[in-house]
Amino acid sequence: MRSELFSRALVRFGLLLGTGLCFSVAQADTTLLNVSYDVSRELYKDINPAFSAHWQAGHGGEKVTVNQSHGGSSKQAMSVAAGLEADVVTMNQSPDIDILVTQGGLVAADWKKRFPHEAAPYTTLSVFLVRKGNPKGIRDWSDLTRPDIQVIVPNPKTSGNGRYTYLAAWGYALEQAKGDEAKAKAFVKALFRNVPVLDGGGRGATTTFTQRDIGDVLVTFENEAVLIGKEVGGAQFEVVYPSLSIEAAAPVAVVERVVDKRGSRALATAYLNFLFSPAGQEIIAKHSFRPRDPAILKKYAARFPALRVFTVENRLGGWAKVQQTHFADGGIYDQIVEQ
């Protein structure tokens, strides 16, 4: 315990040192802090230099350094609410930005209207990853409720990825049962009975499925599934697209309080607008997130098979309602996991 405290103190010291360094950079250049979720790391590593070059060209050579912070989406939102000076937030589900509206008015209430496409520059979908050759013949959501199938899903209580998976299954079941909620509930219950491990986040589920050889199918985001193909040997796995999926839009917003204080509004807005520009959309597509720009989407059509999708907004009545009925304590998710 003592050594853990010591190592924590060391980490804190390191962080302090790190912030100190950031400030020294801040005096030399113009900076921007983008607080983002976990798996957008690789994407913004490419976006940031491209944006810097773009800004420099249009503003007489002014240099911009974009600093990144990554972590679990909800935790990151909490840090910003608690005072982390983010100029912009780029999350993977809108509740994590909505919380910044309700907690201290850090973000404008109409943040979704400030940028095109409901302020979400890209989307991704819940898809299946199965073992090579699809030995269990998994084609659609209904296969996941078969008693001989083990499904790997991150914990819907702690992971946005898991929440989308649950909602995708719910939406599918609701459509099959023509709106009968009792039948949909029985369906998701049967599906989650086949889940042997609930990992904390998307990456944990990936590890369980690919490294521990547990489960017949991993349900995760399309970009993660494609990344697995690239990183851990695509020869062992293949992606299966179900007949219907949920569209997970990744929303972005300017943190009003911070940009007013730091005088970085123009820069922050330009940065987020860059995500919607053809150059930004191209980088997004290369990272296997589905771009909003139809021309870019068409260019990369081979990567993104057309699929019937629904959204939380158009079929499930919005996030506030979904949180309330499904994920709140005693909600439908809690009911189905109870024995």
Binding site: M1, E4, G72, N155, G200, Q211
Partner: protein, 278 residues
């Protein structure tokens, strides 16, 4: 105790006491008080509903039950390890001695991932174990393994110095007076070690109850089966339910405090009985 103020050789008692109280308040009492204050924004009924939800109650059983079991196992095997390190000399003894501290230093996530990799169904130990029908990773035994791992150094390091002070002459005397080996151990050695063992037990238990990082990787986190209480707190935080999280935290604090108090009283009692605190 009453005479200690007058008989103190070193000055500065008041200063030391003041410093202790300020330090303890800043580091321990104020943050813990904040937990209780935050949880009082719930009404009594709401608080009760949160902390007695079936899933949360199941997690108390898992967290406290497995932590007690892990600490008990560590007392037995930690004592054996300490005994071997103090009484015998063998090649590589220094290395083994150093290895004992490793669970202290290792980041808990590393512990969790390493243990999971080894005990999963396709791991070195997981494969033969599952062949004989024992599933370790992603089930409660996996949690137990992780808790034993992180708690081991506490028992070894508290018992070791006492064992080093323990003269073999005592055992020889017992033997010469006709005690058999088991009697010597039970009547002579064990009573002397008992307070240290209890301290080690309390420390290992306290560490295990609060452990999150390593357990979360190996537990499987299935509701009612392998969810630990710290995970229930994190779950609440993820839903921005700060008050619910602090309510469960408050219950954990009270339960842990109560258990540690009992262990400490037990330790004081055994120490008095064996006359070691004089």
């Amino acid at each position: 105790m009453a005479t200690s103020r007058h008989s103190n050789v070193l000055p500065g008692f008041n200063l030391a006491l003041g410093y202790t109280l300020v330090y303890l308040s800043l580091i321990v009492l104020i943050p813990l008080a904040a937990v209780f204050i935050k949880s009082t924004s719930l009404s009594a009924a709401e608080f009760w509903n949160v902390v007695t939800a079936p899933r949360v109650v199941a997690s108390y059983k898992i967290s406290f039950g497995l932590s007690l079991l892990a600490a008990a196992i560590n007392v037995v095997f930690g004592l054996m390890l300490a005994w071997a390190l103090v009484r015998y000399s063998f090649p590589g003894k220094k290395l083994v001695d150093a290895l004992v501290d490793l669970p202290f230093a290792l980041p808990t996530a590393v512990t969790g991932i390493a243990l999971t990799a080894i005990y999963a169904g396709n791991g070195w130990l997981g494969k033969p174990l599952e062949a004989i029908g024992l599933k370790v990773a992603y089930s409660p035994p996996g949690i137990l393994v992780a808790l034993i791992f992180i708690g081991l150094p506490f028992v070894v390091r508290t018992v070791q110095p006492i064992l080093e002070d323990l003269d073999t002459e005592l055992e020889e005397a017992a033997a010469s007076l006709g005690a058999r080996r088991w009697q010597t151990f039970r009547r002579v050695v064990l009573p002397i070690l008992l307070p240290a063992l209890l301290t080690g037990f309390a420390l290992a238990f306290a560490r295990a109850v609060g452990e999150y990082g390593s357990v979360i990787f190996i537990a499987g986190n299935m509701p009612f089966v392998s969810e630990i209480t710290p995970l229930m707190i994190i779950t609440k935080l993820e839903q921005y339910d700060y008050v619910g999280a602090t309510a469960i935290a408050a219950v954990m604090l009270v339960l842990s405090f109560f258990l540690l108090l009992v262990i400490n009283l037990l330790q004081a009692w055994t120490a008095r009985r064996t006359g070691r605190n004089r």
